[in-house]
């Protein structure tokens, strides 16, 4: 383990607005798993894009196995046996696993026909070498996200990769799938492959990597052997200050029932039943967390409560008022706030300014609207106040929202939704894709609302978040609540099993 597979020396890359990489030194030993961590915008992806030939560094040198190389484009990188598994998969859904893997490098029969048999054998060999089986003839659109990721891994190995770059590979996986992925990566390491693992999640760094490089604001701020460090140290290096991990929740007495959902049913966009007979209650001062693999009816459930999707049957009560199938506007007027799961598609208008986004939903009411015209004095004051209170950066109300970072966009949404004392807050995936600092901020805001006695419905794919924030946890699977748990008496394992529909396993677990 003393030979370098990769050395990047003194890499500098400047974009007009930012110095993305500032004299970065990054080196990886042959056969190690190296974690690359940092907040959003720290320069990790830029560095990896330079390695993969997507960008050219302004200055600096790259050595592969000790030889200086010039990576002008991704083809050069592939020839140098560098492979990249992107966060968003680059697969063709109607094609089969094998067809996707060989795409662009098809084995030929007589130089004309694709030798599919040979390809299938190769795919099976590769998957078995990592200790799993895959159906080479299955279509991508019919297999799960976890399996799709394996296809991506086989694809880069098929192209002969010795150095694998994994860009936030666990973001889309369930806890069980994460474990399986780690096994695969460890077996690749045994085969002598070198793995660079980009992540936000510090427990993964600890569980998987040999060494870790931490970046902040375009610079490398620390290189550690994983066994010699801990999460707190890595986090404080990432953020540049101490981070509070333990969320302090004050004990609180729940008040009246704020939201009551009775036997709710709703269809998804394809016309299939996505929410099946869901009933639950949330009291004032309570956080009810919904855990579940995405696509099990959470999206539809939130949309029905917020009036964005009709309920096909069942009732929704806010206090004693029946608000079933109210319009989104009426529901807002009844003071239900909603942090939507898909920030870019639902939550913001990226071509509107910060000030304009901050009035979305109340734009037609006093004081923002007087008669026919908008009242810009009120709108601007409102914007300046919220920018200050929620520390939205940059602090110019006239910036278009698309120019803000993901974390600041989310702050705009949170600021807007919490304004005006909502009775119920629905927070769906509130910290997805955010960096450590922003996550801390959003969590604090949610807890503040709880302490003020608001009812909160939290939906998250991040089990740690669910476990640390919720007062009760409802596990949702295929549109039904399969169990309601006390966060103090459960763990990620149990929830993870319930999330994947293994109710029987749960019983086994309990009898153990």
């Amino acid at each position: 383990m003393s030979e370098f597979a990769l050395e990047m020396k003194n890499i500098t890359k400047r974009f007009p607005l930012v110095l993305a990489n500032d004299k970065v030194d990054f080196s990886v030993y042959k056969g190690e798993i190296h974690a690359l961590v940092g907040e959003n915008g720290a320069g990790k992806s830029t560095l990896m894009s330079i390695l993969y030939g997507l960008y050219q560094a302004d200055s600096g040198k790259i050595f592969i196995n000790g030889e200086k190389v010039n990576i002008a484009n991704p083809n050069v990188a592939i020839n140098l046996k560098i492979g990249m598994v992107h966060q968003h998969f680059m697969l063709v859904p109607p094609l089969t696993v094998t067809e996707n893997i060989i795409l662009g490098m098809e084995p030929k029969k007589n130089n004309i026909l694709i030798d599919m048999e040979k390809a299938i054998i190769r795919v099976e060999e590769l998957s078995e070498s990592m200790g799993f089986k895959i159906d080479p003839k299955a279509k991508i659109e019919n297999i799960s996200v976890g399996i799709q990721q394996r296809v991506e891994i086989i694809k880069v190995l098929y192209r002969g990769a010795e150095i694998l770059v994994m860009d936030e590979p666990t973001a889309v996986l369930t806890p069980q799938e994460v474990e399986e992925l780690f096994e695969i990566l460890k077996s690749l390491k045994k085969q002598g492959k070198t793995i660079i693992f980009i992540t936000h999640k510090l427990n993964e760094v600890k569980a998987l990597s040999d060494r870790v490089t931490v970046m902040r604001k375009g610079k490398v701020v620390g290189i550690k052997d994983t066994k010699d460090t801990n999460q707190e140290e890595i986090a404080s290096m990432m953020v540049g200050r101490k981070v509070i991990f333990e969320i302090e929740k004050k004990p609180i007495n729940f008040g009246k029932t704020a939201l009551k959902v009775e036997k709710l049913k709703a269809l998804n966009n394809k016309g299939l039943t996505a929410v099946k007979n869901i009933s639950f209650e949330i009291k004032e001062g309570e956080i009810l967390g919904f855990a579940g693999v995405e696509g099990n009816g959470q999206t539809e459930l939130v949309e029905v409560i917020t009036g964005l999707r009709p309920a096909s049957s069942g009732k929704i009560f806010l206090y004693d008022k029946d608000i079933t199938n109210y319009s989104p506007r009426n529901i807002r007027e009844d003071k239900i706030a909603h942090i939507p799961e898909d920030r870019r598609r639902r939550g913001i208008i990226s071509n509107y300014t910060v000030a304009e986004n901050l009035i979305l939903g109340s734009h037609y009411r006093s004081p923002f609207n007087k008669g026919l015209a908008l009242n810009f004095t009120a709108i601007n004051n409102h914007a300046n106040n919220l920018i200050k209170d929620f520390d939205i950066r940059p602090s110019d109300k006239d910036n278009l929202l698309k120019s803000l970072s993901g974390g600041n966009q989310q702050k705009v949404i949170v600021a807007r939704e919490l304004y005006g004392e909502p009775k119920l807050l629905i927070a769906a995936q509130p910290t997805r894709g955010l960096d450590v600092g922003s996550i801390e901020f959003v969590h604090q805001q949610i807890l503040n609302e709880r302490d003020k006695g608001k009812a909160i419905l939290l939906i998250s794919a991040d089990l740690e978040e669910i476990l640390s924030l919720s007062d009760r946890i409802a596990v949702i699977y295929e549109g039904e609540i399969v169990d309601v748990l006390d966060p103090k008496k459960t763990d990620e394992n149990e929830i993870g099993l319930l999330m994947t529909g293994s109710t029987t396993n749960k019983k086994l677990l309990k009898t153990k």
Binding site: A20, G347, I348, Y352, Y364
Partner: protein, 374 residues
Amino acid sequence: MKSIKKFDYYVLLEKITPLIAVICGLLVGAIVIILIGENPVFVYKTLFSYAIGNRDGWGNVLFRATPLIFTGLAVAFAFRCGLFNIGGEGQVYIGSFLAAWVGFTFTNFPAFILIPLCILAAACGGALWAAVPGILKAKMGVHEVIITIMMNWIAASLSFYLALVYKAPATEAMIAAGVKQMIPHTKEIAQAARLPRLYTILNSINIDFPAHNQVNVSFFIAIGVAILAYYILWKTNLGYEIRAVGYNPLAAEYGGISVAKNIVLAMIISGAFAGLVGTNEVMGYKYRWRQEILSGLGFNGIAVALLGKNHPLGVVLAAILFGILNYGGAIVNIYTKGRIPRELIMVLQAVIVIFVVISDEVVKRLIRQRRKVV
């Protein structure tokens, strides 16, 4: 702070792409002129000096620009709501016809009632015609492009039929010669329905302006409508909602904005703008409805909106540029005894529009590349 300055520079670049496109368009035009065997410097000098070198030229330019301001605003307004209204053509026919109908039907009304009534009729006709695709889009999700195209054909046939129903009577000369009225145009509108030509106003305040010049009060209506469009879009609650729907209908819906309602409203307003072409062509120029004077205005509005970047001020400037090219082109045609065909102007306009699209895309990519902070 330095970096912010650089950023602004690109925003500026994005804003002036039409100017770059116009220059590129004129350069391509110059090549075409050389290929025809003429001198581009002479041609452009003639074109611009006659079009904007004197008052008569300006009058002619503004007269030609007026209908394009209306149709350009129509396209731009709908576009702000994410709608591609290519039914300007039909909305122009129907709006203008309704204005003419009011004008030749209520002939005993005084001007102060009849003129506003005719203007209202023009707007309502266009609005009505645009409401149909708007409602179909909002309620059934039918694409507005298909419906507006179909509505154009219906409008063309319907208005032509109505023109024959209300056909102008034969003139005395025709009666004397024993022939029937063959021109498919309507009766003349009442004197009280006519908009004054600008020369009457200018001459009354001792400004020399030729009486044959057709520029009329409709130009000021067009400017008023441009200001109104700006006010609605950027200063009112309705405009906030319309633009929100245009940018991101999902977020608009989430914010309690009715997407369907705003689509219908945007189409109605857009159609009303297009219908107001009748104020220039019917109330200010021919004093009757005739299809040939209206044809093509709706489609040219698309080019004007594109060149004007869907902004009211841009639309006005783009319409004036098209007015200059149209009028100047006609003059050049006469001066070169037909060696430079009028069609060259159409080529020029088309090339400019193509360059707008290209330079827009180029600048967008430049900005994206520069901004890329991963």
